[in-house]
């Protein structure tokens, strides 16, 4: 069943058009890699899905028109976002960050702490005193506390040490295997994406230029469209 559908989506930052024709679809339990060079519209696509900016075209989640909903109502519908740059609530502790975002569902404080054992040792520590990796874990944990049906990870491994990146990838694999949650991953590590994702979509200059199964993403295509 199609969970998320974007058809002919276009969006602008004032007079500057950022998206021209984005087409995506995602089923329950599917993991999609959203690829593209810098500045091609990946994060803008995420912003339109989360209704952080307005767009035109078809935008539905679970057959509900997202255009009609405010940003917070989209999140309540079941779209959890791990934003680029983490953006944890700086002066709240780890526990407080998680409680502030909590919504009813299978993901609660104990389950998030079990998933990220490192956060367990930092429960009373303020978010702005955590390392980059821990902040990233907290950002993912905070999104999980909203009990999403679709989790969007925007550059979740950017700027992290290799060992932390491996931990984040392991968590994404675990989420896929254990929860059946639909996931959209924006990242530049093609090797890891190939291990985790079922499908991929490539955005270039605000348009979806390629979509298909991850196994069909040949080096020829990826080199030509995303330079990797």
């Amino acid at each position: 069943m199609t969970l998320l559908k974007l058809q002919n989506v276009a969006a602008s930052y004032g007079a500057s058009k950022a998206l021209f024709d984005v087409n995506l679809s995602l089923s329950e339990g599917e993991v999609l890699a959203l690829l593209g060079r810098n500045g091609m519209g990946k994060s803008t696509t995420v912003k339109t899905i989360c209704r952080m900016m307005s767009a035109t075209g078809t935008l539905t989640f679970d057959n509900q028109d997202l255009h009609r909903l405010a940003c917070h109502k989209v999140a309540r519908l079941g779209i959890g976002l791990v934003p680029e740059g983490r953006r944890c609530f700086a002066n709240l502790t780890v526990t407080e960050n998680l409680i502030a975002a909590a919504r009813p569902g299978p993901w609660d404080l104990a389950r998030v702490i079990t998933l990220f054992s490192q956060l367990g040792a930092r429960k009373a520590q303020r978010a702005n005193t955590l390392s980059g990796g821990e902040q990233q874990m907290l950002a993912i944990g905070r999104a999980l506390m909203t009990n999403p049906r679709l989790l969007i990870l925007d550059e979740a491994t950017e700027g992290l040490a290799p060992i932390i990146r491996q931990e984040i990838w392991a968590v994404i694999s675990k989420l896929k295997a254990d929860t059946g949650m639909a996931i959209i991953v924006i990242d530049k590590s093609l090797a890891e994406l190939k291990q985790v994702c079922d499908r991929a979509a490539i955005i270039e200059r605000g348009k979806t230029v390629w979509q298909g199964a991850m196994v069909d993403l040949t080096p020829n295509i990826s080199e030509r469209l995303i330079g990797v």
Binding site: H72, A75, I99, A100, R142, M145
Partner: protein, 327 residues
């Protein structure tokens, strides 16, 4: 540096000990001063919920303080003149019962806070400050031109209202009522700060867009904080009117809003007992410096400058250390 909880306990202990001591040595004026400080602290604790947790810089909190005051004044005035507040479409009598007056004061100031907050929260920053200030002035000029309840001259209430089991004309009894209410409101403030609502409100102050992305409506959170804050300020207004047995349009003035803001900033924004410390210091300065010079506000201004420049966590922050969130 000492822990903030110890300082809070010390502040409340001293606030209680001074009037008790004043009762022993028969100094009723000191008890009245302490009661004034407690009531101002109550209004400031109310503002601190909106300002400290929600980041709402309201320059119109005197509206709620004044509404609370006038709720007391109007009900008591009708009770002492044996006339109904209104007879159509239904009869509303005046009352001298403090608990009833408090309920009316809190309900009416809460309603006003809801209406003002709903409109004001469409704006942010300097526009929010201006719109709350404008509402304050609106109420101020309305009461000035309201002859039924004294207009510019205000309204006197000859006997203090009644509280079951206590003689409210005994200064320490009235102080006890105000002090217990302050402690309960401080407890409520502490519970709110640690509740999911308080945490979300704190987060909404820092990153409203991010809060939306986790399914929360920052405007609704801020509106609720504004209403709670207004209700507390209204209760403080009713007590203040009872303390003075007098209400006047000055309770609505922007200077009153400014003073409540000064209590919070002086003591420490977002600190549990910051507003209490601020109000106590203000009342002490008003009393002691006011006795030395009629220009005592100059000294208060200088102190405020020093606090803002060198102790940005307020006096509480100076003693227990700064908290990055508000400093």
């Amino acid at each position: 540096m000492i822990r903030e909880s110890y300082l809070n306990a010390l502040v409340l202990f001293l606030l209680l000990a001074v009037p008790v001591w004043a009762t022993i040595i028969d100094e009723p004026f000191t008890i009245t001063l302490a009661t004034r400080a407690v009531i101002f602290a109550l209004a400031a604790v109310g503002l601190n919920i909106a300002l400290g947790l929600g980041g709402l810089v309201s320059l119109g909190h005197a509206v709620f303080f004044g509404i609370g005051g006038y709720a007391m004044g109007i009900l008591a005035h009708h009770a002492q003149t044996y006339t109904p507040v209104m007879s159509l479409p239904f009869l509303i009598e005046g009352t001298k019962s403090m608990p009833v007056i408090w309920l009316v004061a809190m309900a009416s100031s809460g309603l006003a806070a809801f209406a003002i907050g709903t409109l004001s929260l469409r704006t942010t920053g300097v526009y929010f400050i201006m719109i709350t200030l404008a509402f304050g002035q609106m109420f101020y000029f309305f009461t000035i031109s309201w002859p039924t309840y004294g207009g510019e001259d205000g309204l006197s209430v000859y006997v203090r209202n009644e509280f079951p089991g206590l003689n409210t004309l005994v200064p320490i009894h009235f102080f006890a009522i105000c002090f217990i209410i302050l402690c309960l409101v401080l407890l409520l403030n502490a519970l709110i700060a640690k509740s999911p609502f308080g945490l979300a409100l704190n987060a909404a102050r820092q990153m409203p867009k991010r809060v939306q992305a986790v399914g929360l409506n920052p405007n609704r959170l801020k509106l609720l904080a504004f209403v709670i804050s207004g209700v507390i300020a209204g209760l403080a207004g009713a007590l203040f009117a009872d303390l003075n047995r007098f209400v006047s349009p000055t309770m609505f003035s922007w200077q009153m809003s400014g003073e409540i803001m000064v209590f919070v900033i002086l003591g420490g924004v977002g600190r549990l007992c910051g507003p209490v410390v601020g109000a106590v210091v203000f009342v002490m300065l008003e009393h002691f410096l006011g006795g030395l010079s009629e220009y005592w506000h100059v000294y208060l201004g200088a102190l405020l400058l020093i606090v803002v420049l060198f102790a940005r966590g307020g006096l509480v922050g100076l003693i227990v250390g700064r908290v990055d969130a508000h400093d």
